[in-house]
């Protein structure tokens, strides 16, 4: 028995070293490898909750703020289920956005309107529209499913003192995305995304996202404390301030069902 099991183990070890040591043949393969590794490192958290402050700034520098709570749950073999519960502005307090993202199919989305105690399904194709008047669109805030883009490694570059991969990603669903492509800077040590340039459908630079204040949770998961999205075409920007990240809070799938929206606050 011993000798029989030894052969596959050896084969696996050889295969692994082959993958690790030979550089992928094309920039597309390399881009895919980097994206997959980043995805692998950021998944497996199970479920999490966090507080989010969103600070909108217009061209004149006037600011307005939204506060919300985010809860999310990974679904094995599919996407993520998430709840976004609004606390401010006060006229939308208690409004809840429920999203079920899927790897390949259209996402499902519902909006709970507390004034009417009503749950409305919203059209799945809303990707490029602004989220709450911010510089983030629905596709920016949705969980980034690996399968929804194709990738190309462009170059290696130092960004903000970090040795980074520069990877381009193009949406598979080009008809509904607001972007022709995105260019992301991921550091080589932990595959954290530090910067993303978003190009509009005419391939002009539209927005730039920069992330900072990374902290590690559960010795595994890096989360940015601050994200800033600047719209180059309008001069507006939106800052996201994350706090109170908690993992393994014991939420289950039922907590993310449409029928339960009337029970939470």
């Amino acid at each position: 028995m011993q000798s029989m099991t030894k052969i596959p183990v050896m084969a696996v070890v050889l295969l692994w070293t082959a993958v690790a040591w030979s550089a992928p043949a094309t920039p597309d393969e390399r881009g895919w490898e980097i994206a997959r590794e980043a995805d692998r490192r950021s998944s497996g958290y199970g479920d999490s909750t966090a507080h989010l402050r969103m600070i909108l700034r217009n061209r004149q520098g006037q600011e307005s703020e939204r506060a919300m709570r985010i809860r999310s749950l990974e679904i094995e073999g599919d996407g993520t289920k998430s709840l976004c519960i609004f606390d401010t502005p006060r006229d939308v307090k208690g409004t809840i956005l429920l999203t079920h993202t899927h790897k390949t199919e259209d996402d499902d989305q519902w909006l709970y309107l507390p004034a009417l105690r009503r749950v409305r399904r919203i059209a799945a194709q809303n990707k490029s529209g602004s989220f709450m008047g911010s510089e983030y669109s629905y596709e920016d805030i949705a969980t980034q499913e690996l399968e929804k883009y194709t990738y190309t490694w462009l170059r290696d570059e130092t960004y903000d003192g970090n040795d980074c991969f520069v990877v381009e990603r193009r949406p598979v669903d080009q008809a509904h995305s607001g972007y022709s492509r995105q260019v992301a800077w991921l550091d080589k040590s932990a595959y954290r995304t530090w910067k993303v340039d978003y190009y509009d459908r005419k391939d002009d630079l539209l927005k730039t996202l920069t992330c900072k204040g990374f902290r590690i949770y559960q010795d595994r998961f890096w989360r940015a404390g601050e994200m800033n999205m600047v719209n180059h075409q309008t001069g507006k920007s939106t800052r996201l301030l994350w706090s109170d990240h908690t993992f393994g809070t014991g939420q289950n799938e039922l907590d993310f069902e449409r029928s339960r929206l009337t029970l939470i606050r």
């Binding site: 502005p89 259209d106 919203i122 607001g178 039922l254 029928s259």
Partner: protein, 397 residues
């Protein structure tokens, strides 16, 4: 009003003690009518103030207590000056089941222009003729969500009568609905209990629900007094009559791409006749029109029922069209223009509703209703001179 002061003090006290959170709004509203009042006693315009604070407390185990009183003081209509407990309930959750006890609010339905199958809460009609304001309903609600869907059972121990404008109020029938003199089919009157069971689920991109209701109808039949007592020849009043009904209702919402499909229908077995009513339609959204960030939706719905007295019922054979504009700006601006056309009576109406936020706490709502064409035999005839504009400024805290 003394009760209000006591409640307010109590709520502030609770919040100050750190026991829960307080939110809600206070608002001022003005309604201006295009034409002089048609009926004796009606004021032309009215102004009012309203408040709806909300106290919410959640315990560690996820159970919660909610209290939402509502009050309005109106310059013209004493019936519109009213107080209601919108919610006052305790919710307990444990795994896949929950129960709620107290005054609650439950909405069922899919369509935008007509809310046909929504039945748990009575309409606070004196608030707004759109029927979206509801009175708190005393209930015991039990729900369970096994893997095959959601089952809910309601026992509604006390009936709430629909509110109607009083003699001084606009948007009323020529005869005033005498809400102090309602009659019931059930000898238990308001104490007759309703029983409701509902099953709902989501399959793929479709949400649906089916329910059975047995109890007092939320929609009164409005009778002239002589129908009830031949000697009563009073021509200034209508008497609400609440029948006992059995109703099976269903609603479906389905999303695909930019389309939302919506359908509601019910079959009702009542005192006078059995009938079927339905409404269905779609909403198609153009997202991010020409890269502007604005969304524009086109809505259309059709409603129909096979009541014998169909001509005099609203939504008997009606087509609705609407346009929703959402610029997705930081003020949360929204605009909805709606048009309804009665296919038999050639009556039509136009509604415009717009709102936006100012700063972090204020919201301004502007609304206009125009009854463009009202036939003498139609339902809108009595409202033919009640075209109005409404302005509401609300402070949310």
């Amino acid at each position: 009003m003394k009760i209000l002061a006591v409640l307010a003090t109590w709520m502030v006290g609770l919040a100050a003690a750190g026991a829960g959170e307080i939110s809600g709004y206070v608002s001022v509203e003005g309604r201006g009518f295009l034409h002089d009042a048609l009926y004796d006693g009606q004021d032309r315009d009215n102004g009012s103030i309203a408040a709806q604070p909300e106290y919410y407390h959640e315990w560690e185990n996820g159970s919660s207590f909610t209290f939402v009183p509502f009050a309005r003081i109106d310059s013209a209509d004493s019936e519109r000056t009213h107080f209601d407990v919108r919610e006052l309930n305790y919710l307990y959750r444990e795994g896949i089941w929950f129960f709620r006890l107290g005054f609650g609010k439950v909405f069922w339905g899919a369509t935008e222009f007509v809310h046909l199958v929504d039945i748990i809460n009575q309409t606070d009609f004196v608030e707004h003729i759109d029927g979206e304001d509801k009175l708190g309903q005393p209930m015991l609600q039990f729900g369970i969500s096994p893997s095959w869907g959601n089952v809910e059972v309601f026992i509604l121990p006390y009936f709430r009568e629909r509110t109607f404008p009083g003699e001084d109020g606009r948007l009323r029938t020529s005869r005033v609905v005498d809400t102090d003199d309602a009659i019931f089919e059930s000898s238990s009157e308001e104490s007759a209990k309703d029983l409701v069971m509902r099953y709902s689920n989501t399959i793929g991109s479709a949400d649906f629900g089916v329910y059975f209701f047995r109890g007092t109808s939320r929609e009164p039949l409005l009778a002239t007094p002589d129908l009830i007592d031949p000697n009563d020849t009073d021509e200034t009043r209508l008497i609400p009559f609440y029948e006992q009904i059995n109703q099976i209702g269903a609603d479906v919402q389905y999303a695909t791409g930019n389309w939302l499909w919506k359908w509601e229908g019910y079959f009702r077995n009542g005192y006078f006749q059995d009938y079927f009513a339905t409404v269905g339609g779609f909403e198609y959204t153009f997202f991010d029109v020409a890269g502007s960030g604005h969304d524009i939706s086109v809505l259309s719905e059709y409603s129909w029922n096979d009541r014998d007295d169909g001509g005099m019922t609203i939504f008997q054979n009606d087509l609705f069209g609407g346009l929703r504009w959402a610029p997705n700006d930081e003020a949360g601006t929204q605009l909805l223009v709606g048009f309804s056309q009665d296919m038999e009576q050639h009556e039509n109406a136009l509604t415009i509703e717009a709102s936006r936020r100012f700063g972090a706490h204020w919201r301004l709502i502007v609304e206009a209703w125009c009854f463009l064409n009202a036939e003498p035999s139609g339902v809108l005839h009595e409202l033919r001179d009640d075209d109005f504009a409404r302005l509401e400024l609300a402070y949310y805290f």
